[in-house]
């Protein structure tokens, strides 16, 4: 489904990624872990179009998307969840969730779907709250839900468990385990990834240092 070939990225002489080669099949969940600054987020940003690689290509469903704009990549079905939540702080939680669905389902159906997902997680009380008024954990949950709800072909989750307490980590795992999407998830530690990923990669200093098949 996704193929990354010889991907490298350099920022002002600092090498963030070196010759990354990666293939992700449909319905696979790939976990990427590594220390801070190893290049995990950079890889996801390049795939989602928010960064351009210094060299290399990204191919999605047979199409070269290396130089595509982020919104076009999003419309193709690759959705990226930011490490630091990027929400529409002046809009309600419901609006934030519905935005990705509106084009396909129309406004009312999109709102219905959003309310449904909030009820499943016992979060209906947040529906009319402004996203800017949420707690850190709630923002993180919303950041992931915002992309999940659109049923993407490929989901890129950048540290979805970062700054979450154990209660919210459980909620997050519950959400992710329910899905059958193709996912790439980054985290600092392998322990959490092992619970959802089918295989894990360690990135160190911009290179794939270790590869482990979990399931």
């Amino acid at each position: 489904m996704l193929e990354v070939r010889n991907l490298s990225k350099t920022y002002d002489g600092v090498v963030a990624l070196r010759n990354i080669n990666l293939v992700i099949e449909k319905s696979e969940v790939v976990g990427i872990y590594g220390p801070n600054g190893s290049g995990k987020s950079t890889l996801l940003k390049i795939v989602s179009g928010f960064e351009k690689p210094t060299c290399g290509t990204v191919i999605f469903e047979g199409r070269d998307i290396t130089n595509e704009k982020p919104y076009k990549i999003a419309r193709m079905g690759i959705l990226y969840s930011f490490q630091i939540p990027r929400l529409f702080t002046n809009l309600s939680v419901l609006d934030n969730l519905s935005l990705g669905l509106i084009r396909e389902l129309g406004k009312f159906k999109a709102y219905e779907e959003s309310l449904k997902i909030l009820s499943e997680l016992d979060l209906e009380n947040l529906a009319s709250k402004k996203a800017g008024e949420l707690s850190q954990g709630e923002m993180k949950l919303l950041e992931v839900l915002k992309v999940l709800i659109s049923k993407p072909k490929l989901l890129l989750l950048d540290e979805p468990f970062a700054s979450l307490d154990s209660e919210n980590v459980k909620k997050m795992l519950k959400i992710l385990l329910k899905q059958r999407y193709t996912m790439v998830i980054t985290a600092h530690r392998m322990k959490i990834l092992k619970r959802i990923a089918s295989r894990c990669l360690e990135i160190r200093e911009g290179k794939i240092a270790k590869y482990e098949k979990i399931r």
């Binding site: 989602s48 928010f50 704009k69 982020p70 919104y71 999003a74 419309r75 959705l79 990226y80 930011f82 990027r86 929400l87 529409f88 702080t89 002046n90 809009l91 609006d95 519905s98 935005l99 990705g100 509106i102 084009r103 129309g106 406004k107 915002k146 992309v147 659109s150």
Partner: protein, 287 residues
């Protein structure tokens, strides 16, 4: 449409039609001025709310359309709109903070340069510090024209916010990167907003020109640049901002405050951030 917004919209419509009941020329005259400035305020809010860019140069499309209308008539509308759109688009390549400064510089530069601009019109030199004269519309006609434009725009914008397009616009104005990540073509949306904002500002300049029958370099003044900013002191709700525009124009033009209106605007600018935060925290649900 949210109940509170609809009520405010109806209040605005009532205020606009009040002069027809009162039938006082002075009231008509002041209300006409208020309507023209309110249209300018609407155009400013469109840019600020849906693109996130704060402009201090809305006097530019306002003034340039007034000047060009005085010279060339209706052709000025698409030309002024195009010029304004291009300038805003170029300046939007800067970040949002630099956009504020650069639009302010643009407004001041034009304000200073326009008194030196003269035109050869029918072998007569016109313009300069005197400005340009043109045939004005009768007060009633001018008022009907501008107030129907204002009411139509106001209700269209209130309705738009409730549609999916409105949600896209609000999303882009809030966070461009997040909007891109959800598949919105942010550059296209911003361009469309710049066009609509410029067009509405251009119309307000045209209404100003036909109302007064005279256009002077003061149409580019700092006062005009800052007015929309001050009118949105309690937030970017369309009806509230229009009501505040009316209140400002009425209070400063219809009383002893005429000589001090710029000082009033300056004081409002000073308290603006605090007042805005207070209003948003206390009154957000209603506004």
């Amino acid at each position: 449409m949210k109940d509170s917004q609809a009520i405010l919209g109806l209040m605005v419509a009532t205020v606009i039609f009040a002069p027809f009941i009162l039938k006082l020329t002075l009231v008509f005259w002041i209300m006409n001025l208020a309507v023209v400035y309110s249209i300018l305020v609407l155009s400013w809010i469109i840019m600020n709310k849906y693109t996130g860019y704060t402009s201090f140069a809305h006097s530019f499309p306002f003034g340039i359309s007034a000047y060009l209308f005085a010279l060339y008539g209706f052709l000025s509308i698409p030309v002024s709109c195009f010029i304004s759109f291009v300038i805003f688009l170029i300046l939007s390549k800067l970040n949002k903070e630099k956009f504020v400064f650069s639009t302010f510089i643009l407004a001041i530069v034009f304000w200073m340069a326009v008194p030196y601009l003269t035109f050869n019109y029918d072998n007569i030199v016109v313009g300069g510090e005197e400005g340009l004269s043109l045939k004005s519309l009768p007060l009633m006609d001018s008022y009907l024209l501008s107030s129907s434009f204002l009411i139509t725009s106001l209700f269209l914008l209130l309705f738009l916010e409730k549609t999916r397009v409105g949600l896209y616009l609000l999303a882009v104005g809030n966070d461009e990167v997040a909007a891109m990540g959800l598949g919105l073509n942010v550059n296209l949306i911003k361009s469309v907003c710049f066009v609509i904002s410029s067009l509405i500002a251009v119309f307000s300049g045209v209404f100003y020109a036909v109302f007064f029958g005279h256009v002077s370099p003061d149409v580019f003044s700092v006062e005009v640049s800052l007015f929309p900013f001050i009118a949105t002191i309690l937030g970017q709700s369309y009806p509230v901002s229009v009501l505040i525009s009316f209140a400002l124009i009425l209070s400063t033009r219809a009383s002893v405050l005429v000589k001090y209106h710029l000082l009033l605007y300056a004081s409002l600018l000073v308290v603006f951030p605090k007042l805005r935060r207070y209003a948003i925290a206390r009154g957000a649900k209603f506004i």
